[in-house]
Symmetry: C2
Subunit: 362 residues, 2 copies
Amino acid sequence: MRKIDVSNLEDITIGASLLGSGGGGDPYIGKLLAIEAIQDCGPVSLLDPDEVPDDMFIAPFAVMGAPSVLTEKAVGGNEYKTLYDTINTFFGKKIDAIMPLEAGGVNSMFPIAAAARLGLPLIDADGMGRAFPELQMLTFTIGGVNATPMALADEKGNSVLFNTITNKWTEDLARAVTMTCGGSAPIALYCMDGKTLKQYGIKRIVSRSQTLGQAIREIKHGAGTPEENFLKVSGGYKLFRGKITDVLREVRGAFNFGKAILDGLGEYKGQHALIEFQNENLVASVEGEIKATTPDLICLVDTETFIPIPTDAFKYGKRVLVVGLACFKLWRSPKGIELTGPRYFGYDSDYIPIEIRAQGGS
Amino acid sequence: MRKIDVSNLEDITIGASLLGSGGGGDPYIGKLLAIEAIQDCGPVSLLDPDEVPDDMFIAPFAVMGAPSVLTEKAVGGNEYKTLYDTINTFFGKKIDAIMPLEAGGVNSMFPIAAAARLGLPLIDADGMGRAFPELQMLTFTIGGVNATPMALADEKGNSVLFNTITNKWTEDLARAVTMTCGGSAPIALYCMDGKTLKQYGIKRIVSRSQTLGQAIREIKHGAGTPEENFLKVSGGYKLFRGKITDVLREVRGAFNFGKAILDGLGEYKGQHALIEFQNENLVASVEGEIKATTPDLICLVDTETFIPIPTDAFKYGKRVLVVGLACFKLWRSPKGIELTGPRYFGYDSDYIPIEIRAQGGS
């Protein structure tokens, strides 16, 4: 067990943004939420999964919806308590600890804010090891955990509790409510005991985010060029370097859909890359050839600072390095690929692991 | 207290269909639901509001959604118990009695089926005295009663509990879920104590439906012509008689929107009438002049049998009598007109009571 205080947030949010693969929300907004909560209520205890008792009652907290909406439609402040009360009432017992659901600029910070505000510890684990756009895309779904009873609370004071027959139905019903609430809403779901968490959770994701964030912040102090250092600390495969020259985007169904076109720089001069996203980056292609697909992580970072750029911040003129990171192993199982592979999102391509694509493309 | 058995259902369903003002669902489907439940579980005790103790815990049951969907998407059977359990869990006490929310072919029968299946009495009252398309359009809203906690259960086994800041938010969030569930879903809402019911409920609506239904069934035995008899027993104002020559309809937002055009018969020969509806009939015009508007009841009945015709059964060639009935007095209050008057539905017309319009139009 260690404490997370305000001084740790910058690193966690940078690292989580990288793992967010373009999604998970704006890191600046996320950081503000967590800073304010820790300043008001004190540091948060971070529990290593190995320290978690089997019977601990854990509630993952997140914000559902389109990241671009989330940036402008703030969390009101009462949602933490409403989610807490709703879950407690329906389960007939009290939440012992909060956990993130996914990594990302907001979705790694919101659970820290919730833990601070509710005076509960935070578990150093999540259920994606990255961000995905839909609620059924959790390692816990692979493990047969029911996403419901799930609570949703909006900033106006409305709340909803869902009980569904599948985790895809959770997504569908909660998505409809989130859209009606304006496009984003805080949620608590996949409530589980410590034993289940240790079996299917992705362990030490908060610590990993912090280590990554610190390494990115200190990237210019390393032995090689900053880009070499970045690829080393992130374990990423370099897919492209270029300037964003076009962004198409659409907010639909409480998702940000869109694509960005990049003009190559340096050794990629004359080439073009295409990044397609649904909240998160789904497919990266160079000159029409797929270089990486979901569930592997596709991340765009600034070519100077190596700070990750979420999809809602893509804009003309940004110079970016595109890297691919291997996803958590459970996503490469048949069930994992069925849930999050390129075919689920409508791409006519099998999932080929990033390291194999990297060899083929060299 | 008296018993409702299978022999009473025909009359209740005919009368309720008239009060449904075109909405509230198909009477045949409704009757089947109630017949089966009473055959399985025995007759239902009908409690007069005056017999209801002040502290009785009452749950109104209904089916939300587009009537045309409801006719093809059946109630599964487990929804009664799911609604019952969800409400009990959230309120921390057990439902003592079921109540209808509105009058209509399905929505007067579904609560009878629920009462039979759950072994509970039914209260002889509702919150509309007719049918309206949206969940906030209840006399209880005028009385300041919160529609939530509200439960929704679909036939697949999904369920949702809503807590909202206004009854319009209840409508908006529940509508979104109902659409996602396929366009119709059973619900329980406006749970209240006996005291509140007696203050704001529309009393003896089940008995009134039964009396009306019996009178319609025996219409040819009266002293005058069947039409005279019908107008007398219903208290209706004759607005038009004609043949349906065109029906436009659209299922949108889990509502049936549309209009019907009628060619005059008899003394109306050469004239045309227009009936506009959103689940329920909203406005009736003859030769471009408004003859009746919501919240007064606009009802189309067969010219031979005087059986009411719901909006989802409008079709070319049907010969109908159009009648207007005065609505319950609370709907004529400023708050009632704000909730259900023609301007709420987008018509540029003040509400003028049917009896005043009838004088002006004579």
